[in-house]
Symmetry: C2
Subunit: 429 residues, 2 copies
């Protein structure tokens, strides 16, 4: 058997603790699979004194994670988090010291991934980040290796377990957004400041990584159209259900003739589809490739075990000597292939309007849709309660985003339309 | 860039032709991903004169595939098929000549895989067989690498596109088995002699491979409980639908305290579950691991593009120098972990009886179930047509297979029960 693979771990939170437990509890099995012992030689964590449910006696503790790269280790596992600050400093230093890096840090990879990949190439090491996207789902490996024969055309998925948990509990337990968020916070699925998750930023980071990996283009988080889930109301959830849809926060990256269109927004998808049924903290991803057609993968998108499974999977690859280019190809071969604006999107739409007077406004609204050549598919309204505005729901056939945006502006300007219309795209997944 | 990877392909049928097309049409993209050109240098096929929709000028043709190992090639791609005969001879010779092998041959791997892996280790090459199981789904890579941190407990899936196509058209188009089979044969989804597929043998081969890979145990096709789909009638399909189930041919491999239980049989699963909705020629697989929980993957299980995607994916891995042990660990570390008999299975059951006289027989039947401590869950019967036997359907709560088999024997012996009872297991997937 080869020499032990010497591992240093920075960060012993949920994922770090999970990775340590896997490495300690299944050491013999993992050694057989990896072809060598996977030995934790050093760790660094904010609070050394904290009670932990694993035994790290014999392992070197260092106060600063930045002391890890100078140790005699082969791999540094970065589980601190954050696009900049100490995590970034550690990862750059580790690679410069000739250490392989394994990380679950999507913000770091989305922001600095290409630069890190280039540095890793120079130092003949790798930076592996399976755990950064979709928790336990081996989506990086699937795109980079399993489906490497394919020219990719589309990637679409539920990439954020927090949002999916909130939307699922709105759908199944008829909670409104605030209650569902509070519940998610209570059980640890959402942070005290949930902005990153519920505004779609976390999904955008993951999407940018998948886009760059699949299409061999630079990371681009600037040109992602991002809408979060904060405008989704229980009314929309209920209307969606009546129409046969579930509402999910999707990240979608499409190769179009105008360039790559990246978008993150809530979407209505058939509640009977595979992705429409992905519930709670699960993630689900569809990958479409030229040879394979459509592959769908579903699994836990977060949590100790699932994310640690991906971290340790990356460590085993490194131990086996299966060292991949982080973005599948040399950084020098990554090409800018242009950015398609969301204006070009062609899809169907759900529009919910609050109106004061039903009969008058409907003629005006439908006239506006006709002006923009938008053909309507269905129409719903709730029973009139004199105390409340009437809710009118319209779904359209396929049209362009730009036509829809113009129509929505004109509709919003109508006197009888109260509030901004609520628009949710409908996707065939 | 490194030297070209020199490839020889034996067999230019559907999958071979598909692989050639991917390699030729996307040569530049694949070279970037692989880090070197993927060059087809030699081929062998039964009929050189056959019109083909790709251009192999400049490529060496050899009459016998057995001449390929002596050529200056790095990889031999075996797409001839069959557990023995020329395919086997070629693969052994290729490995002995120090060539890597890529194959889609599940029968060969299920029968000789361990022996081949051992020989490959000795000659420091690999034999890669992603295409042998579940077509375009990268299930081998997922188990061997992506989920390598996990102790596996269960693998369950639809692994045969032919059977799934037949069962789906019985379910959706209300065809009987013979018509659905004839349709599958007409459009090329089933062979003239469909035995291998419809009797569950093909599924058993694939299951044995996944079992050995996941649990690090020897290949064992002898101890798989196998039932095909030939006893599934349109009546069962319709009753299943009424009960909320779809009928699928499943391969299931479970790690139990008594050893590995491998079984292939039709099963009723919720028609709303992910696997229950896998339709037509698609395959779907659930993998359960200690850290990751449950991962589900769905994709095309057969066909030119999907299978060729896996073949070329394996070639790219080899070109990249990512050389894995074929069964994830050294052959010397593979351990016999015992075989659990199906008698130990605990599951729910669907039983359909044809009876002459309803009122008399029901008391007798329920008494027999009571004798064996089998508790009943639901009861259905079709409307009485005096010309036909009454169809009585019973579903049970969980019980053991051995109790159920004894009960079925006793029920079959009743005078008023016509024909052998039709039993289909109900699985929670």
């Amino acid at each position: 058997m080869k020499n032990n693979l010497k591992i240093a771990i920075a960060g012993l939170g949920t994922v770090g603790g999970g990775a340590v437990k896997i490495l300690l509890q299944n050491a013999d099995m993992l050694a057989e699979r990896a072809g060598r012992n996977l030995q934790i030689v050093a760790v660094s964590a904010r609070n050394k004194a904290k009670a932990r449910d694993f035994d790290l006696s014999g392992v070197t503790w260092v106060d600063s994670p930045l002391d890890l790269p100078s140790l005699d280790v082969d791999v540094i596992v970065e589980l601190i988090g954050g696009a900049d600050g100490i995590a970034k400093e550690l990862v750059f230093a580790a690679i410069q010291a000739g250490k392989h890096v394994v990380t679950a840090n999507k913000a770091l990879i989305a922001k600095h991934g290409i630069e890190l990949a280039e540095l890793a190439e120079k130092h003949q090491v790798t930076i592996a980040y399976e755990a950064a996207v979709a928790g336990g789902i081996p989506i990086i490996k699937t795109i980079r290796e399993g489906l490497a024969a394919n020219k990719f055309s589309n990637i679409a998925g539920i990439l954020n377990g927090t949002c999916n948990f909130i939307l699922t509990s709105m759908q199944n337990e008829h909670k409104d957004f605030a209650d569902a968020l509070a519940e998610a916070q209570k059980i640890g699925y959402a942070e005290a400041d949930p902005t990153f998750d519920i505004e779609g930023i976390d999904t955008a980071h993951k999407l940018a990584i998948l886009t760059s990996l699949a299409y061999s283009c630079p990371l681009n988080t600037q040109n992602i159209h991002i809408e979060g889930i904060t405008n989704i109301t229980i009314r929309d959830i209920n209307f969606a259900d009546e129409l046969g849809y579930a509402i999910k926060l999707l990240g979608i990256s499409t190769y179009t003739e105008n360039g790559i269109l990246q978008r993150v927004h809530p979407a209505m998808i058939s509640k009977n589809s595979t992705i429409g049924k992905v519930a709670g903290a699960y993630n689900g991803i569809i990958v479409e490739g030229s040879a394979v057609g459509r592959i769908t993968i579903e699994g836990l998108g977060a949590g100790e075990g699932a994310t640690a499974s991906s971290v340790v999977g990356d460590i085993i690859d490194i131990a086996r000597g299966a060292i991949y280019k982080p973005f599948a190809i040399p950084v020098s071969a990554i090409k800018n292939i242009g950015v398609a604006a969301i204006d070009n999107l062609v899809t169907s739409y759900y529009i919910r309007l609050s109106v004061v007077d039903k009969s008058g406004v409907l003629a005006a609204v439908t006239a506006i849709f006709a002006d923009y050549d938008i053909s309507l598919n269905s129409f719903l309204q709730n029973s009139h309660n004199p105390e409340e505005a009437v809710q009118v729901v319209i779904t359209t056939h396929k049209t362009t985003e730009s036509a829809m945006q113009k129509a929505l502006k004109a509709i919003e300007a109508l006197d009888s339309v109260i509030d901004k219309p609520n628009m949710i795209r409908i996707e065939d997944l």
